[in-house]
Symmetry: C2
Subunit: 298 residues, 2 copies
């Protein structure tokens, strides 16, 4: 249902980018009603993680980590994470989990890969990026590609370790990961990890099922006993799940004027009533990519 | 007890700043053994919040928010938060709590203030700042004052909304807060709040008792029913607590060469073994201020 405000906005001469007089809530509300601003999640690039009584929805990032995205797709289809465990929850840092212990042997019979190369960055020339026109502490340029926050230098582009980023754990060998140890960022963006370890996606819904987990009391937040670990019911590729059981989460397109207007509004919050001062800028990892429930629109 | 590594470092000609060849873990370990790098918490500026089965230790920031620090001191001594409730836990944002409902009337008999002015920034000329020599998305200059992350422009200085920052809730009136609604940042730094609402301290220990709380399902993460709210056993000023019951947490001094070496090491992580690339920079809110337990040193 359209709110009165959204209806009024639609009665104005249609602006490509909403007026600067409009605050962030109004921009988002107006954007919600225009289907061109939204996209469905591709079932081939979406994982559902059933854990801690809820469903965490993860979007894979094949544009920036194609081999790792393919590996996670295969591992999910092989079911190696079903019965896996959350092994580590480090305050202001990461939640980390592993595949079921006996899953290695089973998966060898499938097409699941044994090791996955590190994909720390890609050639920037290959990517179309929606620029975020503000300074970043870590990189010369920042922006978004298909909903993923990215940073760039003159030649390379990489996904950034923002809140909710999904990474593929590794030991000392950058190319030695097996895709069976994954982590999600649950604290202030640990951007020092950028280009040191592969990011293969991000959580788009359900972070709250991960962030409330008890922190581990061992070094690096690992649990000290098996009984403290939370079991993972399953991680499924959306393609492997009946269509009726897929949640209707849609993601705001980040290559639209509406998204750029949203970023601009978030950088200039004094347009919103409560604020008395705008920063005139915003940190890349402080830009939420909005979602909408499809059912709301029907 | 000194580790072998720390002992070896001490045998070298004493450097004011440890060699750039040394990684962050080694710098911290060496710093731990030198009492000049640490300070105790002042009991007059420390709050103990007993909640969710643990103790959250908060350091007030009288240098940057003197009137708000004084108000929180008085309110804690008056006991207004004992029996208060956590009313709001918003994912990737804040935990917010309020004083006991009948505390207003009681506190009026004490010296507790009725309203507290907003202290959004101070005169930068009055402050000695340890500079952090990296770019910030929000402000021309950044650094630390007495353990608190700060940002500055040509004339003003303010505490920043990093993870763990303690804020004083307000309505639309910047000067209308009553000090009885407080919040702590539990997500990626919402720096757009800087200079819009008063920060009066930060959590130095025990964040994990706040961050694991179930997120509220109402708008802005407020709980929808009273039964969902977590009760606050007490918030006490450390001066009001017997000395034997004060935890032995010490804070690394941020005005020391050791702290600057720590920041430098965290910005250049490739000196640490696992990393393959250094950012050569670090975001202000990604710099943890180390703590130590005094009992460990005895």
């Amino acid at each position: 249902m359209l709110s009165l405000l959204a209806a009024l906005l639609q009665m104005q001469p249609a602006p490509e980018i909403p007026s600067e007089q409009v605050g962030s809530a109004e921009i988002l509300e107006a954007a919600r009603t225009d289907d061109r601003n939204w996209r469905a999640l591709s079932p081939a690039n979406t994982l559902y993680m059933q854990v801690n009584g809820g469903r965490v929805v993860i979007e894979l990032n094949p544009a920036l980590a194609p081999e790792n995205a393919a590996a996670l797709r295969a591992l999910a289809t092989a079911g190696v994470f079903d019965g896996g465990t959350i092994d580590r929850v480090q305050e202001n840092y990461v939640v980390q989990w592993s595949a079921r212990e006996d899953a290695d042997a089973e998966a060898e019979g499938d097409d699941a890969p044994v090791t996955v190369p590190g994909e720390l960055a890609r050639d920037a020339a290959d990517m179309t990026v929606t620029a975020v026109p503000y300074a970043d502490s870590y990189a010369p340029r920042i922006g978004f590609v298909n909903g993923f926050p990215v940073a760039m230098d003159d030649s390379a582009i990489w996904q950034t370790h923002c809140y909710g980023a999904l990474g593929v754990g590794r030991g000392d060998d950058v190319d030695g990961a097996d895709g069976r140890e994954l982590y999600v960022v649950i604290g202030h963006a640990p951007r020092h990890l950028d280009r040191n370890i592969t990011l293969a996606g991000r959580v788009v819904d359900g972070m709250e099922y991960l962030t409330v987990l008890q922190r581990g009391t061992g070094p690096l937040g690992f649990y000290e006993t098996d009984t403290e670990k939370t079991g993972i019911t399953s991680i499924r590729l959306a393609s492997d799940v009946a269509e009726a059981e897929r949640p209707g989460v849609e993601i705001m397109r980040t290559d639209t004027p509406a998204f750029s207007a949203w970023v601009d509004a978030r950088a200039n919050r004094a347009r919103d009533g409560w604020f008395v001062r705008s920063a005139g800028a915003i940190d890349l990892c402080n830009i939420p990519v909005p979602t909408r429930e499809v059912s709301e629109e029907e």
